[in-house]
Amino acid sequence: MKTSEELLVIKDLHTGFRIKDTYFDAVDGVSLTLRKNEILAIVGESGCGKSTLATSIIGLHDHNKTRVQGEILFKNKNLAKLGEDEFNDVRGIDIGMIFQDPLSALNPLMRIGEQIEEGLIYHTKLTKEQRVNRVFELLTQVGIPNPQRVARQFPHQLSGGMRQRVIIAIAISCKPQIIIADEPTTALDVTIQAQILDLLKDLQAETGSGIILITHDLGVVAEVADRVAVMYAGQIIEEAPVEELFNNPKHPYTRSLFNSIPQMNSDGKKLNVIEGIVPSLLKLPRQGCRFSPRISWIPESAHEKDPVLHEVAPNHFVRCTCYKEFYFKGEEGGRA
């Protein structure tokens, strides 16, 4: 694992959405560190708060309906305290973002060149001509042939993979130190996915930036990530370097993600696998463990009262101690 300078330090972050005058935390006490030169993957099922975490970092939430508490430390600033306008000095320059759906993420009425140039207008002192040249340079950098032509085209004239390259060009246009990619390949064909991931890795190697990669595809994680944080219901339940996590997943939820558990036992009876979905924001249990209802066959005594992260191996953190007690029925060592 590469050790280097810390870029972004998140401490006990809570992001809540206001629903009928009450705030419900979709991110509930997340602490994370992103270093230079690393790709940190955040995985977890739909609705666990990955995107909310990302938008809190770059300030893209609706500031009137969202409450961000805790610390997001970047360059001696606490981003959690910034308002919509103050964020404009961070967004695009220091932090770039790549989105999931490359078609809807581009303005249908604006030429590709204009859309890439826009960030440069507000964040650099480049002249018009220099900006145009920089646009061509960026298009080339993200692997788009014939940049002069593409710059004049509109989003609907490009393929999905091309559009995602354009989005990446926009994100890196001002050479940000941090890039957040929220499911950048989910909407793309498998072959294109691989190309986009390669591009991300190359860009990262070139620029030395830190990338937060949100995904629920473990294949993607294995391919590009250096470190992985697993989220469940707004909290991180396990965090480890990628190899450690794949070789030694501890938390039952992580293990269920890896699908390392048998789905059927030998006599064909259904096992107690993790069923159900992440509880919705309003129904989240706010005390004790959020995960316990999904493994109801574990005895009460096995749960920690207020589970916290424990370091079980170097840089490998697991919430709670349940992994010691935990078993799936029929699993090795399991009590029936």
Binding site: N88, F99, S104, P108, L109, M110, A171
Partner: protein
């Protein structure tokens, strides 16, 4: 694109043909004819019959139709029975009046509706927005003639700021500067009335478009670039929100050209709408059929115009 425009015009020919046939048959089947109202106990029935014969009203319908279409191709729609002038002359005069009135109405309409709709959307749920919504409710609920009469009463009669009838001051010499000023002066009140009534749809449409656009992905991308809020609105949100409104301009304009029957009647403005009503009342077939044909043509033109505008403002749409 010009090829398409020409082709669309050619397609209009059969459409107009079918329309003309329908109009003609319906007009013929209306009870009475231009002479019905002129029969008094003293009229000699033989004289009426003679007039009918003379005007070709006793010929089989298809002969009358063929004659009518043949003339129509030469821009000749016969004579108005009521006004005793050529239909083309009659409509021509009125059409110019309506054209200018529509133009002024359209300008006022968009000048009022676009800023209100856009700002209400931007400051959604603010006091300004609530004010706009209230305004929309009121102007939606109020019938045309009530608003027209209220404005007429206050600005025309009480304050005497504006004239209450006609399209121009008869004392002005046609062609002089005063003549044109007088024309515009006469149009202001009717144009304003119909503009106000037309704003509701555009305001509400724009307002929702802007509110929806705020949560669009491309807006989020713009914010992620660090584009200042004002620019996010002007370059991304407004442009996209105005699209559907722009698409509708064609219909709005041709709709206005049809002339507002109520407005023109109440303000005694000699336009096409007013002519239409009076010719129906007097069974002036030649005028009615010509007007309906014109309206049909305008409707077709409106949809073509909208398509053309759309293809200009939206790069995703190319008419081929």
């Amino acid at each position: 694109m010009w090829k398409t425009v020409v082709r669309r015009f050619l397609i209009m020919i059969p459409q107009l043909f079918v329309l003309s046939l329908l109009i003609f048959i319906m007009a013929k089947n209306m009870p009475g004819d231009p002479f019905t109202g002129k029969i008094t106990p003293e009229t000699d029935p033989a004289r009426i019959e003679e007039l009918r014969e003379l005007n070709g009203l006793n010929d089989p319908w298809y002969e009358q139709y063929a004659r009518w279409v043949g003339n129509a191709f030469q821009g000749e729609f016969g004579n108005s029975y009521t006004y005793k002038v050529k239909v083309s002359t009659l409509i021509g005069e009125r059409a110019m009046n309506t054209f200018w009135l529509s133009l002024l109405t359209a300008v006022m309409l968009y000048a009022i509706a676009v800023p209100l709709g856009v700002l209400a959307g931007r400051f959604h749920n603010s006091w300004f927005d609530r004010g706009v919504v209230l305004y929309s409710f009121i102007s939606y609920a109020i019938p045309t003639f009530v608003l027209a009469l209220i404005l007429l009463y206050f600005f025309g009669y009480k304050l005497q700021w504006f004239p209450t009838t006609g399209s121009v001051d008869v004392r002005e010499v046609p062609g002089s500067a005063g003549y044109y000023i007088s024309k515009i002066y006469h149009m202001i009140l009717p144009a304003f009335t119909s503009a106000v009534l037309g704003t509701v749809a555009i305001i509400q449409y724009l307002r929702t478009e802007v509110v929806d656009a705020k949560s669009m992905d491309y807006v989020r991308t713009a914010r992620a670039k660090g584009v200042p809020a004002n620019k996010v609105y002007s370059k991304h949100i407004f442009r996209n929100s105005l699209l559907p409104v722009a698409a509708f301009i064609g219909f709005t304009i041709t709709g206005l050209l049809g002339g507002s029957i109520f407005i023109e009647t109440i303000f005694a403005y000699p336009g096409m709408g007013q002519l239409f009503i009076s010719s129906i009342a007097s069974r002036d077939y030649s005028v009615i059929t010509a007007l309906v044909m014109l309206y049909g043509f305008l409707a077709l033109l409106g949809s073509l115009l909208s398509d053309i505008i759309m293809s200009i403002v939206d790069p995703r749409i190319r008419i081929e």
